[in-house]
Subunit: 352 residues, 2 copies
């Protein structure tokens, strides 16, 4: 498959490990560091290690798995390890993992000695189609997601489809929401093809098409001033549902599960306010409710959800901003929604 | 005096407080934050506050004075205060202080929500002629200076000469070393004029000329790949002396006092290796020994100093890299020095 050119760096889909080895050989780094978590250390690192054991100038830095690690204390730990390992300006960090690893490894690299090089090997579906593309790094502080971070581009991204095989089904479903979103906002054909495919292990070809869409959008708007907001479809309500679930449920929704709910609600809003055809709304609703388990939303949770939306950093001055679909494959940004409309969209989902 | 244009931002020298007020009025920030330390909170903040009390959308964030504050714990504290104060993407940070405040405030701003705007009001001579110009931010970790940071440009710099009046004489001397350095590497006339002037309170005009030199160099090489190394004159040995003194002396040398020693030693090396005329070496030595107190360096400290140089991040693979003068006002970068030459240069200083 075609190499995708992003912001001055290539995204490889074929022979990615060979490409990685070539990259290391050609670039002459003094040292390199593989940044993993417990799971990617177990499932993915052996595959990579086999090919790079020809090099002797590298170390492995492993952290605990999960969003709880994406904080400043772990960053400090990694910075200190880099110091202890003697990482100089000519060092490279290889982020081998999901979005937690790429967000945090990217942040650590982009600030160590004012910026050393890094590359991503995204190992979750979410990080392949979303987190590894677009040059955003970030960590959480006091539970506020990505409140600290940088815009920083990797030197390359290496996609390795086989890593998805060990990924738990709920993690696949989480990434799938972004893949579906890319079809909904920009490519009706991708949406149609996704519906025809077995999505328990999305094919490299579908991932490639999805990455191409995200890449096109972020290249047009690297620092999120305007059209990058297209990627927020489903996220105004979805983020609120995600946060709400995190605060209230024993087994909280994953990001993608919440975004799937958000996309149904925001499709309903699009139908009411932006002429999204009825048939499109029905198609979106039917497809997403088939793929994702129903979440119990009740009228008496709506106030809490609305409060969370008001606090979201994307919503300035308490106004709730949504990205709409005008039809499947087309979006419109910067739509202000009223409280009543938002409540009604939640009612639509709750009544399904 | 002429406004100096840096990397897409202006450096004001005249009516700076009026310019600051205009800047705030015109830019429409949702909130702004004044970042100070105990001393600048006491000596400089009242002057600024008087003019900006027409605004009601700002808060003050004050930290302890001194290099010990330039660490990640204080950054976390400031990030949390920004969160608590409701700083959004459209907020501004005003760094009111010396190099500690501008380095750390710049780092915090350039990473909060992936970068919000900041400006500097440098209040020490060192920060006026050096730290506030060039777009480097940084903090220390485990005592390693500026090991974490970013390249990030302020939106403007406002120079207020009267702030230097409350600065202790040793702080003036510390900044003066960089001012003298700018003459030595790039402007023989500035060097000559500095020698004629009362340097206990350098005039705005001398500071303006000094900033112009640093600015010209950093504009040519924003991320320190080549000619920016000119600014390292005196710093290879000077940094080692500074670190050594910090580890061993009850009252350690200031940065500038150490750099003055480094400039004498590196002028000696320049004389031996880069044809710096004998008269220039004598001029530099006489001027700097008159301005700065003699520091006791002994033969049996030299090994320790050399070890510190080997560990310096500027020196790759254990090779010691120096910037030389070919004459007063002209430099040459990337000169490798042998151990013996370095020891001899230290002997030259010790024997003065
Ligand atoms: N930078 C961006 O533009 C961007 C975009 C979207 C999401 N994100 C961030 O990404 C993060 C979520 O990403 P994620 O879902 O990949 O999280 P993650 O990195 O925590 O991975 C999810 C889980 O899967 C495990 N795992 C990873 N690869 C595996 C594999 N191949 N086999 C088995 N287990 C594996 C991980 O250890 C973890 O337990 C969030 O922090 C989010 O903020 C960033
Ligand atoms: N970013 C860069 O390019 C760059 C360049 C050079 C130095 N630096 C950094 O700058 C720092 C040193 O700068 P500095 O010497 O200004 O340190 P500083 O900020 O600690 O100031 C020195 C002392 O003077 C006090 N002070 C500041 N303004 C005052 C005033 N007007 N009146 C009375 N007291 C005042 C401070 O409270 C402090 O105690 C170091 O951390 C160094 O790494 C950065
Ligand atoms: Zn998302
Ligand atoms: Zn200096």
């Amino acid at each position: 498959m075609e190499i995708i050119q992003s912001n001055n760096y290539p995204i490889y889909f074929d022979n990615s490990i060979v490409e990685l080895v070539n990259f290391i050989k050609q670039s002459g780094y003094s040292r390199f560091f593989i940044f993993t978590d417990e799971n990617t250390g177990k499932y993915c690192l052996p595959v990579v290690k086999e090919k790079i054991d020809q090099f002797d100038n590298y170390d492995i830095i492993e952290i605990n798995a999960g969003e709880e690690s994406k904080n400043i204390d772990f960053c400090i730990g990694v910075w200190k390890m880099l110091i202890d390992f003697g990482a100089d300006r000519n060092s490279l960090i290889i982020n081998l993992g999901g979005g937690v690893i790429s967000d945090m490894g990217g942040f650590v690299a982009s600030t160590y000695k004012r910026g050393i090089d890094f590359v991503h090997i995204p190992t979750t579906l979410l990080s392949q189609v979303d987190a590894s593309v677009g040059g955003k790094t970030g960590i959480d502080i006091e539970g506020i997601k990505n409140i600290v971070g940088t815009f920083a581009q990797p030197k390359a991204v290496f996609m390795i489809n086989e890593f998805l095989k060990t990924l738990p089904p709920r993690q696949i479903l989480s990434g799938l929401a972004e893949l579906l979103k890319h079809g909904l906002i920009a490519d009706a054909q991708l949406w149609a093809d996704l519906k025809q495919n077995d999505l328990t292990q999305p094919s490299p070809e579908l991932i490639h098409r999805s990455v191409k869409i995200k890449n096109k959008i972020v290249l047009e708007d690297p620092t999120e001033k305007n059209i990058r907001k297209a990627l927020n479809f489903g996220h105004t309500i979805g983020h609120a549902v995600e946060t709400y679930s995190l605060l209230n449920d024993q087994v909280p929704l994953s990001h993608g599960e919440a975004i799937a709910i958000g996309m149904i609600c925001e499709a309903w809003l699009s139908n009411k306010n932006a002429d999204l055809p009825d048939a499109d709304l029905q198609d979106i609703t039917a497809t997403l409710t088939t793929l994702y388990p129903k979440y119990q939303l009740h009228e008496n949770n709506f106030d809490a959800l609305f409060k969370i939306m008001q606090m979201d950093k994307k919503n300035l001055n308490g106004k709730i901003n949504c990205t709409f679909l005008t039809r499947i494959g087309q979006f419109s940004i910067d739509n202000i929604c009223t409280e009543e409309e938002l409540y009604n969209s939640l009612r639509y989902y709750a009544a399904l």
